[in-house]
Symmetry: C2
């Protein structure tokens, strides 16, 4: 008998019938002998509606009261799901973040989970109930309601699974698992059976919408096996686990594409200590995520510096960069937002060489110019012109034999 945590997002619990379907999945899991804890989001659209109320009332909503309001979305779902199970004759009980309790820090609207008490959950599991837990919400040390920020339900599920030492944390989605690349771009994209936390983290940071980064970090830290699978089929999905021997045999696990970045170049920056810290310190303070940074060799005591930021943050980043440039005496700043970032990711790169060169060759064979390159132990990432994005992905997917036909 295993202990399974199941997590269902907003679209999976979007209406009464969908909640009934979720209940049937939980019941099935229980009937084969598992202890089952279900973590759910707010019904699709509900959180947006609550956020709209808040922002209509107050342009920058008071964070404490914002959390009081938006946390109600999940509360509605847990009650309805418990009812759905009861109509099926399955014993179930909902527990709020404050009742469990899910302890967080006191950073309203983006709190971090610190500790989850398991006594109440374990008691109800022992009494043969399915326990239903709201994602996204917790309480701080003073008992104030906190929320974890968008997508926090994945993190809630993994944290609950970690606290309970669950055998698996099932993340239900509308696709059958994690694919070698976006199936909308490459028709023979293949579902991955097994992948490591690190690869998923790289994929997510390269723009693949698979799992919340925070939740994967949590799963990695506490070694919680994740099972990403479909709400609508019974097929096995993708297991995300710690790296094992078998994984290294696969050199490249997937190809990602991120079309939401923009490139910023600062020209003729005085090349002296502290300049990079000055630029990127200011950007980091504004909570803007810089991905790639490239600095050319210095000529005459000046250098050029290029980096990427999410396109939605470009305007804000430019305000900061322009100010800093004036201060440090750089010559000019140019931006380019018609770029895309494609990457190949795989744990096997650690023990196989030649991935980068194979990638560069595949792209150049198609006449795709590489504007920036960045690598990690298990990733090679290139910035290319946006119009080549899909082509680049298809070419790389084929070059590394990732398609269904080749397996």
């Amino acid at each position: 008998m295993a202990l399974v945590v199941q997590k269902f997002g907003g679209t999976s619990v979007g209406d009464i019938d969908k909640i009934r379907h979720v209940a049937s999945l939980a019941r099935k899991c229980k009937e084969v002998g598992n202890d089952v804890v279900v973590v759910v989001s707010a019904m699709a659209g509900e959180t947006n509606k609550l956020v709209d109320l808040c922002t209509t009332m107050m342009e920058r909503p008071d964070p404490r009261e914002y959390d009081v309001v938006v946390s109600t979305g999940e509360q509605v779902t847990i009650g309805l799901l418990a009812m759905a199970l009861k109509t099926m004759g399955v014993e179930a009980i909902s527990l709020l973040g404050s009742q469990i309790a899910i302890h967080t820090d006191d950073v309203y609207t983006k709190a971090r989970i610190q500790k989850i008490d398991i006594e109440k959950i374990m008691k109800h599991l022992k009494e043969d109930r399915i326990v239903i837990v709201p994602g996204f919400q917790g309480i701080d040390t003073l008992g104030n309601i906190t929320t974890l920020g968008r997508g926090g339900s994945d993190t809630s599920a993994v944290a609950v699974a970690a606290a309970l030492k669950a055998d698996a944390c099932e993340i239900y989605t509308d696709v059958e698992g994690i694919y070698t690349t976006d199936p909308n771009m490459v028709v023979d994209a293949r579902k991955i059976d097994r992948i490591s936390y690190d690869e998923i983290l790289e994929m997510a940071s390269q723009g693949a919408k698979v799992l919340q980064i925070r939740s994967v970090e949590f799963a990695k830290k506490y070694n919680v096996p994740l099972h990403v699978r479909s709400t609508f089929t019974e097929a096995e999905g993708t297991w995300v686990t710690k790296e094992d021997k078998g994984m290294e045999k696969v050199v490249v696990s997937g190809v990602t594409c991120d079309k939401n970045e923009a490139k910023v170049s600062i020209l003729r920056v005085p090349d002296k200590p502290g300049i990079a810290a000055r630029i990127f310190g200011s950007i980091a303070e504004a909570n803007i995520n810089v991905d790639m940074i490239i600095q050319n060799i210095s000529i005459d005591g000046f250098t050029d510096m290029t980096f990427t930021v999410p396109r939605i943050d470009l305007a804000q980043a430019m305000d900061i960069v322009n100010e800093v440039c004036e201060e440090i005496g750089a010559k000019d700043v140019v931006t380019e937002d018609k770029v895309a970032k494609v990457a190949v990711i795989g744990t096997g790169m650690r023990s196989h060489s030649g991935v980068a060169s194979k990638m560069f060759k595949a792209l150049s064979d198609e006449g795709i110019n590489i504007m920036m390159i960045s690598t990690s132990e298990i990733k090679v990432s290139c910035v290319v012109e946006k119009k080549y994005a899909e082509l680049a992905v298809r070419v790389l997917h084929e070059a590394f034999d990732l398609g269904t036909e080749t397996v």
Copy 2:
């Protein structure tokens, strides 16, 4: 400096602008030097929507989970109201039923308040904040969420006022106070300045939609002065307090009319001990409220018995009555649902005689036949044909000099 509890119902907080208006009323009350606690309901329509979700999911919703779901309506309002006050630069904080805590018994969906901790509320009042409390909700001894049943927000407000020993509990409505009778029936109905708990209780039980009976009982028990007033004007409303000398001078305070009752007559009931208990015991067990009961004198060991029940409960009451009648050997049961109950109410009746006879004469002068009569210390109530209801109210309102022109 006084401590004032203000209560606003669903229509008063029905949208963002209305919540802003409520905030301005709370601020005004605070600015003149009062400590202010605001108790609010869910936004108009929200509770119905939540109830619909529950009943769609489960024909008879699990009561514990029902309370988890429907209590979210008030939670949204308290957060939004706190924000509204903050946008005005007024310090405010919302506290949930579980945070305060408002302790209730564990009868989900119709819990009764047992105790309210005041420490947290007092702390925030001392720190110069307006404290915002959700109506309708509480927690049981195990920390489960409970709700007080429909209209429970009035009770929450009065209970909070009682616990805090507030100087006044203001109940905001869409009318200017409590009237001598329904202004829709009688154009010169007059707003009452001051009335006793007992009179209000009689009015409410006679069908006047003024205040929740439970909340008035609570106010009477703890001697909380209620001030029923309008959300839309600054005029003084109606004070509901304990009886004082002045009140006795007014013989009749108001005339009520209830068109939602039905009359049931059981014919030729064997007149022996225990029969009435048998009939009304069964009806009470079904939670049906019997108002008037009349038993005629016995002839040949048989009697006729007539009583009234709310018309919506008539079908259920008939099922019970038919079964009991067969068992006890009564001859027949006849019902009449085209009836209305009109009543005159006034504390002054205790010390003034002749109210009943004046009432009967006024009705008979208009040719209105009285079908049943019931009296209490401060009320005379008559059942008449429904078509005469409005006429009866106008006649009685005039007979007892209640109109604006006569004062």
